[in-house]
C-alpha cells in the first residue's frame, strides 16, 4: 500500500526541502528562483491539504518510524485525524500564501537577495508540517525549534532595520523559553511512562498508554500550557507577537499569524486530550480564563494601534483567546463526562482555528498588498485606497467582516458555536461554574463587538475617505498572483461561513476520537442548510438562507429602484455646508478609538500630552495645537522589565567574582578545599 496520506505528506515535505536546496544552489537567478520555489511550495501545500483532508475525512491513522534520530529513539511520525486537520489548515493557508508570494516577493527584487527568504520560507513550512506529524517528544521538539528558528530568520529578513533585529531577538527568546518548558513537560510524561529507564517513554504512544498521577500530570500540563501559550501569544506572554509579526515580510506574517500560532493550539489539544486524557475541571478553567483575558485585552490593545500590521497582530492574540475559550470549555465538559457538549465546544474551537487561519491570512496578505503599494504601515497616513486598489479593498473587507464575527461569513459561525457552548454551561453540575461561565460569554460578546469596531476603524481609515498623509504616493493595484491568493482565501471564508455544516460533517471524526462524541448528526438535524448544534429547538442558524436572503432582497430593491432611470449627481462633499474641508479633518485611527480609550483607559499605560501655541497671548485663540499620544503594553512594565533588570543586577554581582587579582583566585581555591574538607569529606 504505497498510496497513503502519510506518503503524500512525505512527498510534500520532500518537495519543500528540495525547494530550499534549489534556492541554496541556484541563488544567481533570483526571478527564476521565486517562480520555481514558490510554485513548488504551492504544490507541496496542496498535497498536504490532500493528505490531511483525506486522513480526516476517512478517519485514517498512519504511523511511520524513520531510521533517524537517536538509535534508541528513532523519529516516530503519525498522521491521525487531529494532525490531519491541522495539516489541512496549515496547508490551505500556505497554499494561498505561496501563490501570493509569487507576486509579493518580486517586490524585493532589486533591493536585496531573496535567497534566504525562500530557503527559510520552505524550512518554515516543513517545520510546521513536521510538528503536526511528530509522534515522539524528540522529533516534536526538533521540528518545533526548526519552525521557530526558520521564522526567526524570516523576521530577521530585513536585518538592516533595528526594529527587525529587536523583534527577532525578543521572539527567539520567548520561543526558546517556551520550548524548554515544553521539553520539561514531555520529560515529566516520558519519565512517568517508563520510570525513567531507557528511551521508550519518549514516544507519544507510551504517554498515551500511561495514566498519570494527578500531581505529575498537572505539572506536565502547566509546563506544556506555558510553553504553548508562549508560542501562541497568550497574554501575558504575547509581547513578542506585536513586535515580530509586523516587521516580517507580509507573506511570512500571514503564515506566522495564520498558522504558526495554530501549532501551539495543536500542541495544547494533543497534550491534554490525547496524551494525558483525564484531567480535573480546573485545568479547563485555567485555559478558559487565559483565553478570555487574551481575547478582551488583545482586541483592546488592537484598537489602540495605528500600525496596520501591528493591529492585525494584536487581533491574533484575541482570536487565539477565542480558540482557547472553546478548548477550555471542551476540557471542562470533558472533565464532567459530558461528551456531546465537549464535542460542541471543541468543534467550535477547532472551527475557529480554521477560520482564523483563513481570514487572518487574508488580512495580512491585504496589508501586505497595501504596504507593497504605499510603502507605508502607519494608518494615520492612509485613506481612500479603495479607489486605487478596488480588488484588494474588497478582499480586505471580506476579511474584516469575517474576523468581526458577522454573518454570513465564517468568523460568525465559530463564535456562534462558542456562544452555544457557553449557553449550555448551566447543565454543569457545579454551581460555581454555573454562575461564572456566563460572565465569560458576556466577555466574548464584548470582544466580538470591539473587534467589529476595530475593523471599521482599520478598513475605514485605510481604504475609505481621502489620503491623510502629506504627499500621496502613486498607488497601484496588487499584481494578479497576489490578487488570486487573496481571492481564494476570501472565497474560503465565504464558503466556510455559508456551508458550515459540510465542514463540521467532515471534521466530526476529531471530536469523536478526542472526546468520544459526534455532533454532526444533530448539527445537521434538519438538513444541510441549517446548523443546529444540539437540536433545532435549542438553536439554529442557516448560513445559506441568510446569505441568499439578504442578496435577494438587495437585488430586488435595486431593480425596483432603478426601474425608472435614476440619475446620480456627483457633487463636492456637503458636510453640513462646511466649505474649507481638508483631508486633515478626517477622523483617523487615533481619534476613532478615542471613546474606547477613554472608557477602558485603565487597561493601558497612556501618555497623552497637548501642547498649545496660543495667539494674542490667550489660550482661547490657539494658533497651533500639538497632540502627542503614546500607548504602551502594560505587561512590559509588569513582567519583562523587572526580569531583565534583575538578571543584569545579578550578573553585575557575579562579575565581582572575576576581579583580576590572582591572590583572590588563590584564596578561592584555598577556601574551596578547606570548606570541602570540613563539610563534605
Amino acid at each position: 500500500m504505497i498510496f497513503l496520506p502519510m506518503n503524500i505528506a512525505f512527498f510534500s515535505i520532500f518537495l519543500l526541502l528540495l525547494a530550499a536546496a534549489l534556492a541554496f544552489l541556484f541563488n544567481r537567478n533570483q526571478k527564476f528562483l521565486i517562480g520555481v520555489c514558490f510554485s513548488m511550495t504551492t504544490i507541496a501545500s496542496l498535497l498536504m491539504v490532500a493528505a490531511g483532508g483525506w486522513a480526516v475525512g476517512k478517519g485514517i491513522t498512519n504511523q511511520v518510524i524513520l531510521p533517524m534520530g537517536l538509535p534508541d529513539l528513532l523519529f516516530h511520525l503519525r498522521l491521525d485525524p487531529l494532525s490531519g486537520f491541522f495539516l489541512t489548515v496549515i496547508g490551505l493557508l500556505s497554499f494561498f500564501v505561496s501563490i501570493y508570494s509569487l507576486g509579493y516577493v518580486k517586490g524585493f527584487l532589486g533591493h536585496r537577495s531573496v535567497t534566504s527568504l525562500i530557503i527559510f520560507y520552505c524550512l518554515f513550512l516543513a517545520g510546521m508540517f513536521m510538528v503536526v506529524l511528530a509522534d515522539d517528544a524528540l522529533f516534536f521538539l526538533i521540528s518545533w525549534e526548526v519552525m521557530a528558528a526558520a521564522s526567526y530568520f524570516l523576521v530577521m529578513f530585513e536585518d538592516e532595520k533595528i526594529e527587525n533585529r529587536r523583534a527577532a531577538f525578543l521572539y527567539i527568546i520567548v520561543a526558546h523559553v517556551g520550548a524548554i518548558a515544553i521539553l520539561l513537560s514531555f520529560g515529566v510524561m516520558a519519565g512517568l511512562a517508563t520510570g525513567f529507564q531507557g528511551f521508550s517513554g519518549y514516544t507519544f504512544d507510551a504517554m498515551r498508554a500511561t495514566n498519570f498521577p494527578l500531581g505529575w500530570a498537572t505539572a506536565a500540563f502547566l509546563l506544556a500550557f506555558f510553553g504553548f501559550a508562549a508560542k501562541a501569544g497568550v497574554i501575558p506572554l504575547h509581547v513578542w507577537l506585536p513586535e515580530a509579526h509586523p516587521v516580517a515580510p507580509s507573506n511570512v506574517s500571514a503564515l506566522m499569524s495564520g498558522v504558526m500560532l495554530k501549532t501551539a493550539i495543536y500542541g495544547i489539544v494533543r497534550v491534554t486530550f490525547d496524551l494525558i486524557g483525564v484531567f480535573p475541571w480546573w485545568w479547563g478553567a485555567i485555559v478558559l480564563i487565559f483565553g478570555l483575558v487574551s481575547a478582551v485585552m488583545g482586541v483592546l490593545y488592537a484598537l489602540m494601534q495605528h500600525d496596520l500590521k501591528r493591529l492585525l497582530a494584536y487581533h491574533s492574540v484575541e482570536n487565539i483567546g477565542i480558540i482557547l475559550i472553546g478548548i477550555g470549555l471542551a476540557m471542562i465538559f470533558t472533565s464532567y463526562q459530558m461528551p456531546l457538549l465537549a464535542a460542541l465546544a471543541l468543534t467550535a474551537g477547532l472551527f475557529h482555528t480554521m477560520n482564523h487561519a483563513m481570514f487572518k491570512g487574508l488580512l495580512f496578505m491585504g496589508a501586505g498588498a497595501v504596504l507593497h503599494a504605499t510603502r507605508e504601515r502607519n494608518m494615520e497616513e492612509m485613506g481612500g485606497l479603495i479607489h486605487k486598489m478596488p480588488w484588494t479593498a474588497a478582499f480586505f473587507l471580506i476579511g474584516c467582516i469575517s474576523i468581526s464575527a458577522l454573518p454570513p461569513f465564517n468568523g460568525f459561525v465559530s463564535e456562534w458555536l462558542t456562544f452555544q457552548a457557553f449557553l449550555l454551561s448551566p447543565s454543569l453540575p457545579s454551581p460555581l461554574l454555573n454562575l461564572l461561565i456566563p460572565m465569560g460569554a458576556a466577555l466574548l460578546a464584548l470582544t466580538g463587538a470591539l473587534a467589529a469596531a476595530c475593523f471599521v476603524k482599520a478598513f475605514g481609515v485605510t481604504f475609505l475617505g481621502h489620503w491623510r498623509g502629506p504627499h500621496k504616493p502613486d498607488v497601484h493595484e496588487a499584481g494578479w498572483t497576489m490578487r488570486i491568493g487573496m481571492m481564494l482565501s476570501a472565497l474560503t471564508c465565504l464558503a466556510l461561513g455559508v456551508l458550515p455544516t459540510v465542514f463540521i460533517d467532515w471534521m466530526d471524526v476529531l471530536s469523536e476520537q478526542l472526546v468520544g462524541a459526534k455532533i454532526a448528526t444533530s448539527a445537521t438535524g434538519i438538513g444541510w442548510m441549517w446548523l443546529t448544534p444540539i437540536a433545532h429547538e435549542r438553536a439554529a442558524y442557516s448560513g445559506p438562507i441568510v446569505f441568499a436572503g439578504i442578496m435577494a432582497i438587495v437585488v430586488i430593491a435595486y431593480i425596483l429602484l432603478h426601474a425608472r432611470p435614476a440619475a446620480i449627481k456627483r457633487v463636492p462633499i456637503w458636510d453640513c455646508g462646511f466649505e474649507k474641508i481638508t483631508q486633515r479633518m478626517q477622523y483617523n485611527a487615533t481619534s476613532f478609538s478615542m471613546p474606547i480609550r477613554r472608557i477602558f483607559g485603565f487597561l493601558f499605560s497612556i501618555k497623552e500630552q497637548v501642547r498649545l501655541v496660543s495667539q494674542y497671548g490667550h489660550r482661547a485663540f490657539p494658533k497651533k495645537l500639538h497632540y502627542h499620544l503614546r500607548i504602551r503594553d502594560l505587561f512590559w512594565g509588569w513582567l519583562y522589565k523587572p526580569v531583565v533588570d534583575a538578571s543584569f543586577w545579578i550578573s553585575r554581582k557575579v562579575g565581582r567574582l572575576q576581579q583580576g587579582k590572582i591572590h583572590v583566585y588563590l584564596i578561592y581555591s584555598f577556601v574551596t578545599i578547606i570548606v570541602l574538607l570540613v563539610f563534605l569529606r
Binding site: 533517524m68 534520530g69 537517536l70 538509535p71 534508541d72 524528540l138 521538539l141 526538533i142 521540528s143 518545533w144 525549534e145 526548526v146 521557530a148 528558528a149 530577521m156 536585518d159 538592516e160 533585529r165 527577532a168 531577538f169 527567539i172 527568546i173 526558546h176 523559553v177 524548554i180 521539553l183 520539561l184 514531555f186 520529560g187 515529566v188 516520558a190 519519565g191 525513567f196 529507564q197 531507557g198 528511551f199 519518549y202 538578571s647 543584569f648 545579578i650 550578573s651 553585575r652 557575579v654 562579575g655 567574582l657 572575576q658 590572582i662 583566585y665 588563590l666 578561592y668 581555591s669 574551596t672 578545599i673 570541602l676 574538607l677 563534605l680 569529606r681
Partner: protein, 482 residues
C-alpha cells in the same frame, strides 16, 4: 600498533617542528602529523569497537569505549584546528604579531599538547594520568602568552599558577589514592593501574578515598574550569591565539573532566554512596549559573565563549554527578558535541576578529554581509551551542534535562534559569555581530572553510541521525561508569 603511532606521531612531529616550524611548509607538516594521528585514532577505535577493551604496553595503556572515543575526538579536533591555524597563523604572521621563532615554538608546542592529552586519555596509570595533565598545562602556558602583550602574559601567569596549584592538589589526592590502594594491591606500579583499582575499588578504604576525592575534585576541577576555581579560564581563552583557545576549550577541558570521572568511578565503588556525585552536581550547577550570568555582560568575544565553555563543562559535570543511564549517556554525548561546536565557533570567531582586527563585540558587525561562511557559521554555531535543535547539543541537553526531572526535580529550575539566561545572553551579543550592514573598517579575509563546515555538519548529523556505533560506544561507556 595504532596505539603506538597515535602517541609517537605527535611527539615526533613536535620534535621536528621545533626545528623547522617556521618554514613555509610547516603548517602542512602540522596538518599532516595530526591527520596521521587521527587516522591512527580511528583505526584504534575500530579495533576496540571490534574486540572490546584492550590493555597494551604491559598494562601501561588501557583503551576502552570511554577513552577511545575521546581520543578519536581529540585527534580529529586537533587535525581540523591544524587546518584552521594554517590560514589563521599565516594572517597573524602577516600582521607581524608572531615571528619565526614563535612559529616554531607554536607548532612544536601544539603537537606536544596533543601528545600530552592523548597520553592522558590512554594511560592506565593514575599517576601518569596526572603527569600528562601537568604536561598539557605546561605545554600550553607559553602558547597563551605567545603574543607577549601585557594582558597575554598576565593571563598565562594566572593560568600557570592557578592550574599549578590545582594540579598539585590533585597530586595529593593521587597520593592518598595510592595510599589506599597499596593496602589492597601491595606496593609498586600495580597499585596505580586503573584496571586493577577499578576491580578492587570495593575494598579500598572509604574514608581515605573520600578525602582523596576532595583533592582530586578541586585539582582536576580547576582544569575543567568549574566555578569557583575557574578564574584562569576566561583570561587564558581570550588572550591566547585562537587555535589554542579552540583546543583548550574543545579538548583540554574534556580531558580534565575525563580524569575526574575516572576517579569518581573509583570513589563511588569504594564509598558506595552518591557522595562524590553530589559534590560534582554542586560544582556543575554553580558553574552553570555563574557562567550564564557572567555571559550577560561580556564585551570581548572570545571571553564570552570561554564563559560558555564553563557553562557547558558545568552541564557535563552535573550530568556525570547525576549518574544513571540517561544522564551519563547525555553527558558523554555532551562532551562530544560541545567540543565540536565550541571549537568551530572559535574558528569563526578567530576569523571575525581578524576581519575587524579587534575582539570587541561592539565593533564586530555585519559578518554575513562581509563573509557569509563566517557569519552563518557563527550564527549556526551559537544556535547549536545554546541547544537549539536540530543540532546535537540539543539532544544531549534534552536527555540531561529529562533525567534531572527524575533524580533531582528541584534542581531543574536552576538548570533552566542557567540555560535561559545563557541563551538570551549569547543571542543578544551574536545577533548584532552577524546581521546588519558591514562596517567600513571591515577587511576581507580568506577564511578556512573546511573545519567549520566539517564540525557543523557533524554536529547536525549527530542531532538528526546519530550513527549506531556511536550509540554502542556510549552505551558501553555508560556500563563502565555505572
Amino acid at each position: 600498533m595504532p596505539l603506538l603511532i597515535l602517541l609517537s606521531v605527535p611527539l615526533f612531529a613536535s620534535l621536528v617542528l621545533a626545528f623547522i616550524g617556521d618554514r613555509k611548509y610547516a603548517p602542512e607538516i602540522n596538518i599532516f602529523g595530526s591527520a596521521a594521528t587521527f587516522a591512527a585514532g580511528v583505526s584504534l577505535a575500530l579495533d576496540v569497537y571490534a574486540n572490546g577493551p584492550m590493555l597494551a604496553g604491559g598494562k601501561f595503556f588501557f583503551v576502552d569505549a570511554f577513552n577511545v572515543y575521546l581520543a578519536v575526538l581529540t585527534s580529529f579536533v586537533s587535525m581540523t584546528t591544524a587546518i584552521f591555524s594554517r590560514r589563521y597563523m599565516r594572517k597573524e604572521r602577516e600582521h607581524g604579531r608572531v615571528g619565526p621563532i614563535r612559529m616554531r615554538f607554536y607548532h612544536a608546542m601544539f603537537q606536544l599538547f596533543i601528545f600530552a592529552m592523548l597520553l592522558c586519555l590512554l594511560t592506565n596509570n593514575v599517576g601518569v594520568l596526572w603527569i600528562a595533565m601537568e604536561l598539557a598545562t605546561l605545554s600550553t602556558v607559553l602558547l597563551v602568552s605567545l603574543y607577549r602583550t601585557p594582558s597575554a602574559i598576565e593571563a598565562a601567569w594566572k593560568y600557570f599558577i592557578l592550574c599549578g596549584v590545582g594540579i598539585a592538589l590533585a597530586l595529593f589526592g593521587t597520593v592518598l589514592l595510592y595510599f589506599a590502594a597499596e593496602k589492597v594491591l601491595g606496593e609498586g606500579g600495580e597499585a596505580l593501574l586503573w584496571t586493577n583499582l577499578s576491580q578492587v575499588s570495593g575494598k579500598l578504604e572509604p574514608t581515605v578515598l573520600s578525602l582523596a576525592f576532595v583533592f582530586l575534585m578541586v585539582g582536576y576541577g580547576t582544569k575543567v574550569g568549574l566555578v569557583p576555581v575557574h578564574n584562569w579560564l576566561p583570561d587564558a581563552h581570550s588572550e591566547g591565539p585562537t587555535p589554542i583557545s579552540a583546543v583548550l576549550s574543545g579538548l583540554l577541558l574534556n580531558v580534565a573532566l575525563y580524569a575526574l570521572v575516572r576517579c569518581k568511578v573509583l570513589v563511588d565503588g569504594s564509598t558506595g554512596t552518591h557522595h562524590a556525585g553530589d559534590i560534582m552536581m554542586g560544582f556543575g550547577l554553580l558553574s552553570i549559573i555563574v557562567a550564564a550570568f557572567s555571559l550577560l555582560r561580556q564585551k570581548d568575544i572570545k571571553r564570552m565563549f570561554a564563559y560558555s565553555s564553563i557553562e557547558h563543562m558545568g552541564i557535563a559535570t552535573f550530568a556525570f554527578g547525576l549518574g544513571g543511564p540517561i544522564a551519563t549517556f547525555g553527558a558523554l554525548l555532551h562532551m562530544l558535541v560541545h567540543s565540536l561546536t565550541k571549537s568551530s565557533i572559535f574558528f569563526t570567531v578567530g576569523h571575525a576578529s581578524q576581519m575587524h582586527s579587534t575582539q570587541e563585540m561592539d565593533r564586530i558587525k555585519g559578518l554575513i554581509r562581509g563573509n557569509p561562511l563566517v557569519g552563518w557559521g557563527l550564527m549556526f554555531g551559537v544556535m547549536a551551542i545554546v541547544g537549539m535543535p536540530p543540532f546535537g547539543v540539543f539532544t544531549s541537553e534534552f536527555l540531561i534535562l529529562t533525567a534531572t526531572i527524575k533524580d533531582a526535580p528541584f534542581l531543574t529550575p536552576f538548570l533552566l534559569l542557567g540555560f535561559g539566561v545563557a541563551f538570551a545572553a549569547l543571542f543578544r551579543r551574536v545577533q548584532p555581530m552577524v546581521t546588519g550592514p558591514a562596517p567600513s573598517y571591515q577587511r576581507p579575509i580568506k577564511a578556512a572553510h573546511i573545519p567549520v563546515i566539517f564540525h557543523m555538519a557533524l554536529v547536525l548529523a549527530i542531532g538528526i541521525y546519530m550513527p549506531d556505533f556511536l550509540n554502542q560506544w556510549f552505551h558501553r561507556a555508560v556500563e563502565l561508569l555505572k
